[in-house]
Amino acid sequence: MVRKNIMWNIHPFLFAVFPIIFLYSHNIRSMESSRMVGPILFAVCITLCLILLLRFIFKCFNKATVMSSIIIATFTSYGHFYQTFQTSISEENLIYMDIILLNLWVGFVILLLLFFFRTNRDFNKTKAILTIIPSLLIFISISKIGLYAYKNHELYEWHYSPQAKSIPSIEPKQSADSPMPDIYYLIFDAYARDDVLKKYYNFDNTPFLSLLEEKGFYIARDSRSNYTQTCLSVSSSLNMTYLSTLADQLGTNTNYVLPLNQMIKKNLLFEFLTQHNYKTISFATGYYPTEIHNADYYFSPSWVPDDFQNVLLERTPLPSLKFMFDMPDRRYKVIAHTISQLKEIPNLDNGPHITFAHLSIPHAPFHFDQYGNERKIFERGYANLDTNSEERQKYIKGYIHQVKFVNSQIIEIVNCLLENSKTPPIIVIQSDHGPSSFLKWNNPDKMTYYERMAILSAFYLPDFDTQTISPSITPVNTFRIILNHYFQTDLDILEDRSYFSSKTEPYNFVDVSEYLDENSNGLASMEYVSLFRQIQ
């Protein structure tokens, strides 16, 4: 009897954990199941506290659990319903809609409290229904997880095999006697090449690039990315290899991107430099695939939710409160923290260090104005950028503001690194891919991948003849040339190729290298992509 009672009273916990299991089931291709553990424990603890509090108020266990379930269900689904209405409301009115929705929710909870105070019902039938609903929802999510695991069991087996975890080793010809320089690999997400900025954004970036050149940087004026997505691009550059072998192993029709996370966390560059007594340094990025937690030094601001936890929090009314009480955004905090910490790295210890920093700026959303102040923008989830001119103009304006801010910060960081380093450092400033004012994944005939793949690449390489660097260098060769020069390795310089792939089929690479020149308006090249797909 007692067991039966407990069974019908677990519904608040089911409502609390369902959004976590649902989000995992929806994003199973890109995240490990272990990332659910923390949020589930947190949700269970909070639910328990809420039940105990309401039990204390109502002096009735049934009332406490039923009330808890209703509060939790509406609290955790708030953002989903908000987002359903969001599309039909203009940006200026979003905050008003949020205030109205928030007040409605608070009013609903107060009315519910009053109702529960006054009623003498036992809620036995309600308990049964409240147990069936989340059980059904969890059942669906778990079925979805099971179905995906069953369909992709070969990929999982491969992913957890020693073969997938092994990385090739690089042998230096001879070890260097002189003190080795610190290496800084700074990735500014979606930073466009200067010709793209001029052509599509009406922004002249020459003064900034000239300033870098004056400081001794080499700017690869025709540099392109190898891939169009961050996780593909960064895993490729840190491992100094194209991902065609991985695509062959996984198949081109899968969207399973977990191996890329693994390739970034355990990458060839870090492995090689660790063998040469380098200490590894990384920063919180706010984007889980590029978080290298196991670095010797991992810098993060005081607790910030990761992207999974952030999406969960965004589904609750909490972002509205944050906005109303003027609290800094998570992304703003992470970027500002990384920028300030980067300037301190030369003073850290004797090194040498390899510092990897992926800053998700000037990528949208545009939280920074051109002076680095936080712009209060109110949005939940991902911006669905359309190609209509109004949306594009907003994007361009926000993007340029962030480029201006980033430029000023890059100069400050470079000054600090050059002034405070005992041995002249190696600095690579690069973007993983270009911006996306023309990008539509599902309608590639309308996008310009010239904009998406023309990237900033700036190198500070002491005692290096930069004339030998190709102006169209791609990130896959960045560390091949650096290791060959400074560590006397004998790595082949690969042919610089650029591959387009969509979000739904990230490994279905289409070689678009021949179509990435400035004069292409993108449409001709996209015709090529369509044709290529038809042939395939």
Partner: protein, 78 residues
């Protein structure tokens, strides 16, 4: 009780299969899946309402019966 359990299990399977067939794949790196969530919540809500009606069916029948009976009685000339 056994019959009720069977009904609930059937509901689970039918609703589960229905939703599994209709759910979309994630479109971004971390997609909140709002469309799928709202659809699942609505369907689960409908199932909840269905179960509620089923549980209260005897009471509902009695109430409706009483209502019609009362109407018939009131229409009868005294």
């Amino acid at each position: 009780m056994k019959r009720e359990t069977k009904i609930i299990m059937n509901i689970f399977c039918i609703a589960g299969l229905f939703i599994l067939c209709l759910t979309n794949e994630a479109k971004a790196y971390m997609d909140p899946g709002t469309g799928s969530f709202v659809m699942q919540a609505l369907l689960a809500g409908l199932v909840g309402i269905g179960v509620f009606i089923k549980m209260c069916w005897t009471n509902i029948k009695l109430t409706i019966g009483r209502l019609f009976k009362g109407k018939e009685n009131s229409n009868t000339p005294s």
